[in-house]
Subunit: 453 residues, 2 copies
């Protein structure tokens, strides 16, 4: 296997050959400084005209941004470089000298220009660092769940019914002209309106939670991690139309333990990013001091307490209002740890959340707000596990119970108390990287006005 920059701290004093790209350079006429990256990291290669064959010096003189090259050099410790090492250049070889005019330079570009060139912008050091942090968040999530008995359970994207209204769902035809009917062995009229036939509609899933609840009745604990879709026209710095969501669900876990799980997961992710992505956070100029304070126990506020605090701060928010982005920001600036906001009014939350037995106007749910103004990164709740109560909730909301028959079945056959939560990957990455807008946290962002490249 190819030697990479990530290995050179173990190779001090040795000559190494690396393959990659020139992302910057400067020359004094006698000394040439090549800023070299290979995907695993970046390092400066210093060439001396006096010590390099003439044809190779000519290659350096003709160097251009983003040319692909092979370099050879001796690894030296260098305390001035961000990596702590540089190469004393011994050989330069061109794979391809790029044309002049690489579109992304040192000058400030507007976000639309950068997003139009997302396929190239990804090569920038900052974007490289964000993608590596994203990978670390994903990896830590998988590790933590597997260490804690959760099984990955991939829920479907193509779903037959728009359970809670279609306004924020992407809709499509599902084999409209096909000749196959529904199963003759099917479940009779429970499939009405969702069975296959001419003009069958499919919707892109917004969350896998309901399916995940079926999964845990087999597997005990399960998590789901994949793309979800929201046809929301909001153009805010926190919204994408396609984003990655992690949903987790556990049988026999109730409200309090549900939050313990969330806290442990977030602590693990933050600790791992601080441990494994120091260099990436440095590239991003992320102040790590606030991240180092992310430790259990997190702050707990009830929704009622949060409302009282907001009002004390001058807000006119109502008793049964949901929290808006500004409210979240106001709360997070008062603490240096994440905040659980618990027990929202039932009227502003989903039908499947279990009511608080102490106050049935409220549900056993929580949001989790990240500090420094980042706001909501997790939403979770204990789920209603009683058949009759759940059916009544569906009907109260004016929803058709038929497409929920299978979901109600989970309460009919061996119901158990259970809870779950979901995090938005891009919001967590944005927080950890200290980014203003989530659009930089995903390889190819999709927004109301963007579906390219």
């Amino acid at each position: 296997m190819q030697t990479t920059i990530s290995q050179i701290p173990q190779l001090v004093g040795q000559e190494v050959e690396l393959k990659g790209w020139c992302y910057n350079f400067r020359s004094s006429g006698k000394i040439f400084f090549l800023q070299f990256r290979d995907g695993s990291g970046s390092v400066q290669v210093v060439y001396s005209k006096a010590e390099l064959p003439e044809d190779q010096w000519k290659i350096l003189e003709g160097m251009r941004l983003e040319s692909s090259v092979i370099v050879r050099g001796i690894v030296k410790e260098d305390s001035r470089s961000p990596l702590g090492f540089e190469l004393e250049g011994k050989l330069i070889q061109a794979i391809q000298i790029a044309p002049e005019g690489y579109p992304i330079g040192k000058k400030e570009h507007g976000p639309e220009f950068l997003l139009d060139n997302r396929h190239l912008w990804l090569r920038a050091q900052s974007q490289w660092a964000v993608m590596r942090v994203r990978d670390r968040v994903i990896t830590s999530t998988y590790e933590w769940f597997h260490e804690n008995g959760f099984v990955k359970f991939d829920t479907p994207i193509l779903t037959p019914t728009a359970c809670e209204g279609t306004t924020e769902l992407f809709e499509m035809e599902y084999f409209s002209e096909q000749g196959t009917g529904n199963s003759e062995q099917g479940l009779g009229n429970r499939e009405q309106g969702t069975g296959m036939g001419e003009g069958t509609k499919a919707y892109l899933a917004q969350s896998g939670q309901l399916y995940l609840e079926a999964g845990i009745m087999s597997l005990g604990r399960a998590f789901d991690f994949g793309p979800v879709f929201r046809a929301e026209k909001s153009k805010t710095r926190r919204h994408l139309t396609e984003f990655w969501m992690m949903d987790a669900e556990a049988a026999f876990v109730e409200h309090a333990e549900n939050m313990v799980i969330q806290e442990a997961l977030i602590c693990r992710i933050v600790a791992d990013v601080l441990k494994h992505c120091r260099y990436e956070l440095k590239v991003l100029e992320r102040d790590v001091t606030p991240l180092e304070k992310i430790k259990a126990p997190f702050v707990h506020l009830t929704h009622a307490e949060a409302i009282a605090k907001l009002r004390a701060g001058g807000s006119d928010i109502g008793d049964t209002d949901d929290l808006g982005a500004d409210d979240e920001t106001a709360l997070t600036t008062q603490y240096d740890r994440p905040i659980f906001i618990e027990k929202y009014p039932a009227v502003v939350k989903a039908f499947y959340m279990k009511r608080d037995p102490v106050d049935p106007t409220r549900v056993l749910n929580n949001d989790l707000l990240a500090p420094e103004g980042y706001g909501e990164i997790i939403g979770g709740s204990q789920r209603e596990d009683d058949y009759e109560t759940l059916l009544a909730r569906i009907q109260e909301r004016g929803l058709d119970p038929r497409p929920f028959e299978w979901y109600l079945d989970l309460r009919r056959w061996g119901t158990v108390p259970h809870s779950g939560f979901g995090y938005g990957l891009e919001r967590i990455v944005g927080w950890l990287c200290g980014l203003h807008h989530v659009r930089e946290t995903i390889p190819f962002p999709r927004m109301v006005n963007r579906i390219t490249p």
Copy 2:
């Protein structure tokens, strides 16, 4: 945290409390055998009427399939049980005694009935085992890639253009009535036909490969693992309309090394499943002997050699024909290791595959066929890395080069030799579990005639 069945081998002689479900039972009138599962595994709990309080014995007498229960008992070694342990029952407590008539019983059900009840069928021991093997394949894939310098890179599902024709793509409207135009700082006419405006179409991705190639020019090595979509009307045992695909791509890797990577990954997955899923494979009655033979080196045949072998076996397959499912089956039965079929005729393969310099009518690609008749599980190739050649290939196929501008850019700015491959998760799980049809390998399968539950 709750004690689970997975922990009881370490708890012999101790009394444990477990929460879960009754999946079967029988009674002699004096001894009650409760088949108990909790998501982490299953175990028999043996109750004696003489030793149990009367009210608890009554619970057992009223037991029904899929009731949720709490059991307490002493862990005993028992060589007759598949797990090697059973519980001497000390307590039974009902969470919910299920109604009579649980739909899935011991009798044979047709596949459509089982799929209509997928949310319950998932609880069957066989389906539990398949989901656990699936999780193990996913986990080993993540581990192997991370140990080998690959970064997870999530490519988009919503894509603007149907690069190679729309016949097998799901199509939808993307914010048809929105008022926002395309960026004024955009790239001019390269966005024509894909820019945002009234009636903008989006297509669900069939593969993330092209985007992944952009990713490796930043990250060096990357992999993508998510759902992909194929609006194919084929109703075969190998096809789903929504399935999970793993794509990997690596800079500076050429054709031969590309296959070394595939071989190492598959060997790792098989070894891990054999190591961690022995019990699951036993539940599935999977003969592990063929799996134990999966070791490097795999068999290598060129496409020409494969055609010759098929003809020797009586086939009338042509020199430039692609291999069909029957051809694959015929070849795999001749070897007990997976087979790489290399260097297909260029005319039957995608435009982006690099030609073989020795014979430019062929490409530097490979399929990988699993033994025992399972056939194709991987497709891969070295990619064309020359700008002019790639542009010519696009034009030869009659494709519009404009939506490929960004993809061509990867060859304009520091092109490098690179290769990649993709595996279909459901086909790998189907092979390892010894299943006839891929529909059992995913939680909620989507097929031409099925989008429920």
